[in-house]
Structure formats: C-alpha cells, structure tokens
C-alpha cells in the first residue's frame, strides 16, 4: 500500500517537506494542506516587491508554476487543519478528515500582537500573508504618515518600501538599536543611517503607551518618551511566536515551539515537524529559528524522514534582507565576548565578523554577496581564521577556505 503523507502548512518548510517526501518515495500519496487561498508563495517579497507593486504574491510560487501538479503532489488550499487523532492517524480539517501514515507539521508562526492594536483593527496592519500585504498596500498613500512598531527585518523592509512610495514614516523600537537581536552596533548604525537618509524617523528605546482613534479616522499614539504621533496607518511588526495549536490537539510535547529532535521527530510516532513552528532540542541546546533557509532545510529533512529516511538536520542560522540598495546577509549565532572584525569591501560593502578563539561565530555582510558563500563555509566548518587575513581584502576569503580544506 502506498504511504500516505500529509503535510500541514504552505510556507517553505511545508513545501520542501512535500517535495522531498515525494522525491524519496515516489509511490507515496503526498498531500499538502494550506489554509491560505493561494498556491504556496514566497513571503519575503511581501514586505518588498509586493508592497512596491513590482510583483504579486501569486507570481512568486515556491514550487514554481504548476510545481505541485508536475510532481504529483496534491494541494488542498483554503483548508484549515483543526485536530489530529494520533491513535486513528487522522487529521480533521475544515474539509473532512485525512488519514495519514506520516504527518509533517509545518504550521509556521503567528504574529505577536499588541493588545491595544489588535489584528484586524481599522488602520492597523500586521504583515504575514499575501492578503495582509494587499490590504496594507492599499492604505499607503504618498504624504500620509505611517507608524511602524518594531525595527526588526519586517519593520525595516516595510519602511524602505513605504518610503519609496512617498509615505512619511516613524519607526518605534523598544530596544536601543535596530535589528537588535542579530545585529552588532556598527552594522545597526550603518543601516540606521541609510534609513535616515531616506527620511525615516526612529524613536528607539521607546514603546507605545496608548493609542486612540481620532474623529477623522487617524490614530493618535502616545509613546514612553513623552511624544504623541498622529498616523493614518500603523504597522505592528514585533515578531512572531510558533504556531503549535494543532500539535497541542494531539498532546504533542511543546515548549515555545513543537519540540523536535535532529530527525524532525515530535514526541508522537509518525508525526514530524519543521520550520518556524518548532524548537530543536539536542544534547546541551534548545533552539528556535525563524528564517527562510531554516524552514527550507529542516522542512526537506522532515519530508525525507516522513518518507522513510533517517537523516539529521544540522542548523546554521542565516537570513537575508533588502533595504534600499543594501543587501544584508547574516550567518551564524551572535555570541558573547567576541572580537569584532570589519572587512571593508567597497564604499557600500562590508562584512562585520564576530570571532571567538579564531572561529567566526557570526557575520553580517552588507552588499557583500560575492563573499558570503565563503563566509558560510568558514562558519559551518569552524575554520580557524587569522584576523588580519579577515580584514585584508587582498586576501580572498576563498583562499582561507582552501587553505583549511584537507588536500584532495
């Protein structure tokens, strides 16, 4: 009997789980269930090209046009999975029950909500789905004032896009610098300068105290630094939390994320999980990640294992972002007690390394694409590097990699 594999979730983790499950076991009946009405699309453009109007979500399909049909994978769109019965091996959905032999949960994350500015409120926006982006874009008019709460990647990308549309922008951030979770101070200052050049006003170390609606429909927001802002629209971009609601219906172990091991197995046999929804627990570590590459790679491993393989996923955090003419790439884990080394590549390009005991723990490149593939490998392989060589652009990073590679 053909193995029935159900994948829940239309983000990259779900898509690559479905593609890889089918590739490993071509006889399997693979079904991907997504509650969205669109065929799985890329979310990164939602805060960039989709807001700018240069692309539509449905033009950027993760599996390519007709990608699922070509590979014999069934899609069930507009369908929400409501509960799992692990004993009967059935997923109950808003469109009937689906039996499974292997189940992959790629339920992703939900946005953190500000209680005073709830999701769905008038002039209040959150940005996660294509529908969110369409609604948000419709309210961005030249000359209007947009308040963005949160200076993380989504808030900053949305700021850059909205600025290009002629919108006036204030960004409110609780931390004392932008991209505080992943960015060293120097790089954060460099990115902030670019935003300021484009007229963005930052209110750092500041939070929203209260907000109210004015008779003319605008929102009035009071902040902890004693200021008051009037805005036509607000975007709340304060991060996400794992969506483990479906997992909980099957009593799968969760702890700020669906707990998975390196093989993407949950606490219940035949149920795998991957992507934003999960927390990977291993000897001496417990880690959540929210980035595209992680979703793709962990999803692929979950899919292969759901189809009978027993592969292990080794995570290395990484992300990219586009803001104005800055192409930002981060790789690795920010660490404590590191030496900061800057490699200046050009007027606009630089890499900021965090090095500990000669090993690069974390690096952020700005307009440094040509070097970042080598940087990823230096970090992945834990190559011991010479700090002078890291700074010296006459010494290609590739050479450091080759010097470290065993002779072949």
């Amino acid at each position: 009997m053909a193995r029935k594999i159900i994948v829940v979730g239309g983000g990259p983790a779900g898509v690559f789980a479905a593609l890889e499950a089918k590739r490993v076991d071509p006889a399997a009946v693979v079904t991907l269930v997504s509650e969205e009405r669109f065929e799985p699309y890329e979310r990164p453009p939602l805060s960039k090209a989709v807001l700018l109007g240069t692309a539509k979500a449905e033009d950027t399909l993760i599996a390519g046009p007709g990608g699922f049909a070509q590979r014999g994978i069934a899609l069930k769109l507009g369908t929400r999975c409501v509960a799992i019965d692990p004993d009967a091996r059935i997923v109950n959905t808003t469109d009937g029950s689906l039996p499974y032999d292997s189940l992959v949960l790629a339920t992703g994350s939900r946005m953190r909500e500000l209680p005073d500015l709830p999701f769905g409120g008038q002039n209040v926006h959150y940005l996660r789905t294509a529908d969110d982006a369409i609604r948000f874009k419709s309210e961005l008019s030249p000359g209007s004032h947009l308040l963005i709460i949160g200076a993380g990647l989504i808030g900053l990308e949305a700021a850059a896009s909205a600025a290009a549309l002629g919108v006036r922008i204030t960004v409110i951030e609780a931390a004392s610098s932008l991209m505080a979770r992943t960015c060293d101070r120097l790089t954060a200052a460099r990115i902030a300068a670019e935003h300021e050049k484009h007229g963005i006003n930052f209110e750092l170390s500041t939070s929203v105290i209260r907000s109210s609606k004015q008779p003319d429909g605008t929102l009035l927001v009071e902040t902890s630094n004693g200021k008051t802002f009037s805005a036509q629209a607000i975007l709340v971009a304060i991060g996400v939390k794992p969506d483990d609601t479906l997992a909980v219906t099957a009593s799968i172990a969760v702890d700020d994320g669906i707990l998975v091991d390196a093989e993407c197995r949950t606490s219940i046999p035949n149920i795998f999980a991957a992507g934003d929804a999960t927390r990977l627990v291993g000897p001496g570590f417990s880690e959540r990640q929210e980035n595209w590459r992680h979703a793709q790679d962990q999803g692929a491993v979950a899919g292969r294992n759901a189809a009978g393989a027993a592969e292990k996923y080794v995570p290395l955090p990484s992300y990219w972002s586009e803001q104005y003419d800055l192409y930002i790439q981060g790789i690795g884990r920010p660490a404590q007690n590191v030496q900061n080394v800057i490699r200046t590549i050009s007027e606009s390009g630089a890499i900021s390394f965090e090095v500990k005991d000669g090993i690069i723990e974390h690096a952020i490149g700005i307009n440094a694409q040509r070097d970042m593939a080598a940087v990823r490998r230096l970090i992945e392989r834990r190559v011991k590097v010479d700090l002078t060589a890291l700074k010296d652009t006459k010494r290609p990073l590739n050479a450091l990699l080759k010097a470290a590679a065993p002779a072949s």
Binding site: I62, A63, A373
Partner: protein
C-alpha cells in the same frame, strides 16, 4: 536557425572562476573548471542573482543571493530554493576563444 556567437577569449576566464558576457540581448556565464569551459544563462532561475558572481565549487555554482545551487554541466538543480533547471550551452573552444550556438 542556429547562430554561432563568440563569448570571450579563454584567457579572460581564470581557472575556478566565471565571467558574465552580455551579448545578443542576453547574459551568459562562462565558467572555467580546471581548464574546461562551461556556459549557462547568467541569471539564476529563482531570483535576481548573477551566477557568474556565485560561489564555484567544482562543477557546482551557488547563487550568492539565496544559496541555490546548479550543476553547470547539466543545469540540474542541486540545492533549493531553485526549482527550475538552468539553461546550459555546450561550449565550443576554437582559436583560444569560447563560442556557443544559440537559436
């Protein structure tokens, strides 16, 4: 009708690297792997990346935007997020130059 076009001199492409050649309104990447030449479209099938600026490891090129990988001999996808294979062109080396046939 096929049309043979010259892309570059072999000396222009150092071993283990690639260059971008813009001609006939298209962009090609010409690679030199251990003295053997390969030609593909320059633009990644996934995003805006220019593959001649990618990371080359043997016959694998990694796009420097989102780290998808292709085999430059066949155009086959080696690593996602790329889904669509890359177009390749048999490289013809004559008179110290690299040519391809295009339609």
């Amino acid at each position: 009708m096929t049309n043979k076009i010259k892309l570059c001199l072999i000396d222009e492409v150092l071993e283990g690297t690639a260059i971008r050649v813009d001609t006939e309104g298209r962009a090609f990447a010409v690679y030199n792997v251990a003295g053997q030449f390969f030609v593909t479209d320059d633009t990644c099938t996934h995003g805006p990346g220019s593959l001649s600026e990618g990371f080359i490891d043997g016959h694998i090129v990694e796009c420097n935007f989102h780290n998808g990988q292709f085999d430059i001999r066949t155009g086959e996808v080696v690593a996602p997020p790329c889904i669509i294979p890359l177009k390749t062109y048999p490289a013809i080396v004559e008179d110290d130059a690299v040519f391809i046939n295009i339609d």
